[in-house]
């Protein structure tokens, strides 16, 4: 060993993420109130979710199945026997003064998800995923009081807890986005960030080690940042905390250590873009968990599990790989098409209806997604059903319409029930690719433009421009209906012989 020790220790971020996902059921977790965002305050409420005395909760079967579906997709062990627990705390948005959750027997545990990070597979462990009920919402911008809206109280909420396996802000973001994509694929949540369907709580600490030392390094105290509701806030929080913890450690490297300082909670200040100290975990409230006596346990047998498993569709990663193999799509395009299940389904249905994969993929990328985005809808809802997209693809593949014309035809198809071909005909967009039909037009153009013909034949500088001019004349004469490729070939043949 070198006698001179390095004094520039390295660090590695160590991040685990808790994600809360609201499930897209019609009704709440334990009562029949509507589960819907954006209604007037306190209109989707009943004695159960208002926490009135003497009421009894009853489990929503679909919410349970949705949660198991996620557990299965995350390769978790699904518990055959689970129960419910009360987690006690006092806050105005929690009318019962306890939240029904799962403490020691979560419905799923010990899973993982594989993520693509820098062309490698990064596996992030899933500690557990359990069901609970969401709290209501406090509204802070009223004069002289805080308003409480309990529409959200009792909405089924899935808490997914990862292992502290992420080592960079980038990995955290890949994981968080993959989770959003996954729950949307599974159809268990809209995961609409603006509606608060997904909230993040990262646990962040740094492993600080010196390669010249043999002590194995040490960790900075864990910081948990509460309730982040956007990807942007999540990313900024993780980046900020890493920086902040490095600074803290540099200021007091002997004491800023996990074994000397307790875990702390911090909040994200979206305006100042910093994290703000809230409390040390040692002052944390005691949740006084105990088994929920009002609810019965859940037991899952093989038959039920099999039925739920059958509702797990092909997952994004598998589909991405298959799209590249089966359809020969490049990674970027395949990624785009599999980003949402609705897009991937739309694409596959069009291909099954006879569209060539590449044509359909390009058409969806350049037109479908652009128009869907403009209109704030998804590509499958534009009115150009997959079968009709296939008609258009086939026309283009057969050179009956030009690539340029497909744009106008696609847009017209959104407003009309007519076939792609009929629209193309009505709009004079059918393209003439038949050489014999084009011959006479070409001949006429050549006869009328002898100078250009000479220039083209002469070769050299002007040649290319002259050919372009001749082709332009053909297009003009045919009212844009000539297939430029075929017309060009005829010009070449006639002029160059």
């Amino acid at each position: 060993m070198s006698p001179q020790k390095s004094h520039t220790p390295q660090y590695r971020p160590t991040v685990g993420l808790e994600i809360h996902v609201e499930l897209a059921t019609a009704s709440k977790m334990f009562c029949a109130c509507t589960n819907k965002f954006g209604d007037p305050p306190n209109t989707n409420v009943c004695p159960v979710c208002l926490g009135m005395p003497g009421v009894l909760p009853v489990m929503n079967r679909k919410a349970y199945e949705f949660a198991v579906r996620v557990g299965l997709a995350l390769n978790c062990n699904i518990a055959t026997y689970t129960k419910w627990d009360r987690k006690g705390y006092y806050y105005p948005d929690l009318p019962k003064n306890y939240q029904i959750s799962q403490y020691d027997l979560p419905l799923s545990s010990n899973g993982y998800i594989d993520l693509p990070v820098d062309s490698q597979v990064k596996r992030v462990g899933i500690t557990r995923a359990h069901l609970e009920e969401d709290a209501g919402k406090n509204v802070h911008d009223l004069p002289d009081c805080t308003g409480v809206d309990l529409n959200r109280a009792g909405v089924p909420l899935l808490e997914i807890v990862s292992e502290p396996d992420m080592n960079s802000p980038q990995e955290v973001m890949v994981y968080a986005r993959a989770m959003r994509q996954l729950v949307r694929y599974l159809g268990v949540s809209e995961a609409n960030m603006q509606h608060g369907h997904m909230r993040f709580e990262p646990n962040i600490s740094l492993w600080i080690f010196d390669e010249a030392e043999t002590d194995g390094g040490h960790y900075t105290p864990i910081v948990e940042v509460k309730n982040l509701n956007s990807f942007r806030a999540l990313e900024k929080t993780v980046v900020f905390e890493i920086e902040r913890q490095i600074n803290e450690w540099q200021a007091d490297s002997q004491n800023y250590r996990m074994d000397k300082m307790s875990k702390q909670n911090r909040g994200w200040d979206d305006v100042k873009e910093i994290t703000v100290f809230q409390r040390h975990k040692e002052e944390a409230q005691e949740y006084r968990y105990f088994p929920e006596p009002d609810l019965l346990p859940v037991e899952i047998d093989e038959a039920w599990l099999k039925q739920i498993r059958s509702q797990v569709p092909e997952l994004p990663a598998a589909r991405l790989e298959r799209f590249q193999k089966e359809f020969g799509l490049e990674a970027k395009l395949a990624n785009l098409l599999t980003s949402e299940k609705s897009i991937a389904d739309y694409f596959e249905q069009a291909v099954r209806a006879g569209a060539s994969a590449k044509r359909a993929a390009n058409m969806i990328q350049s037109q479908g997604l652009r128009l869907a985005n403009e209109r704030g809808t998804d590509v499958g809802s534009l009115g150009v059903w997959p079968e009709r997209l296939a008609q258009l693809c086939k026309l283009a593949d057969a050179d009956k319409v030009s690539a340029t014309a497909t744009v106008a035809i696609f847009e017209a198809m959104m407003e009309s029930e007519d076939s792609a071909e009929k629209i193309a005909q009505d709009k004079n967009l059918m393209q003439v690719s038949d050489a014999s039909e084009l011959e006479s037009v070409v001949q006429q153009v050549l006869t009328e433009n002898t100078k250009a013909v000479e220039d083209y034949r002469a070769g050299g500088k002007k040649s290319k421009k002259a050919r372009g001019f001749l082709l332009g004349q053909v297009m003009q004469k045919s009212k844009g209906q000539a297939n430029p490729k075929v017309a060009g070939e005829i010009i070449d043949k006639k002029v160059l012989g």
């Binding site: 019609a26 009704s27 029949a32 509507t34 306190n42 989707n44 026997y81 308003g147 809206d149």
Partner: protein, 97 residues
């Protein structure tokens, strides 16, 4: 048996429950709570190594309802007993400044 619940723990529980206790009360409850635990400890004499833990006293499971939205209360009815309300909200003292 020595005190199972010392004064420190009594103070902590009192803090969590937001109860103020005098020093003599801390003493008193430390003793009483310890006595209760000692009494309950008698159960440990039973050998339960072959008994599955009970998580619910009823021998029932899987009581579900269908995921269907039903009737809800009107906003007026929901807020009928609220001591304070504001524009459809339950009004509580300001949580954040």
């Amino acid at each position: 048996m020595s005190a199972k619940i010392g004064p420190e723990q009594v103070r902590k529980v009192a803090h969590l429950a937001r109860i103020k206790l005098s020093e003599s009360e801390v003493e008193q409850f430390s003793e009483q709570l310890s006595d209760i635990l000692t009494y309950v400890d008698q159960l440990n004499e039973l050998d339960t190594s072959n008994v599955e833990p009970t998580t619910h006293p009823l021998r029932l499971s899987n009581v579900f309802r269908k995921d269907e939205a039903g009737e809800t209360l009107s906003n007026e009815a929901a807020l009928a007993n609220a001591p304070k309300k504001h524009g459809g909200f339950f009004a509580v003292p300001k949580v954040l400044e």
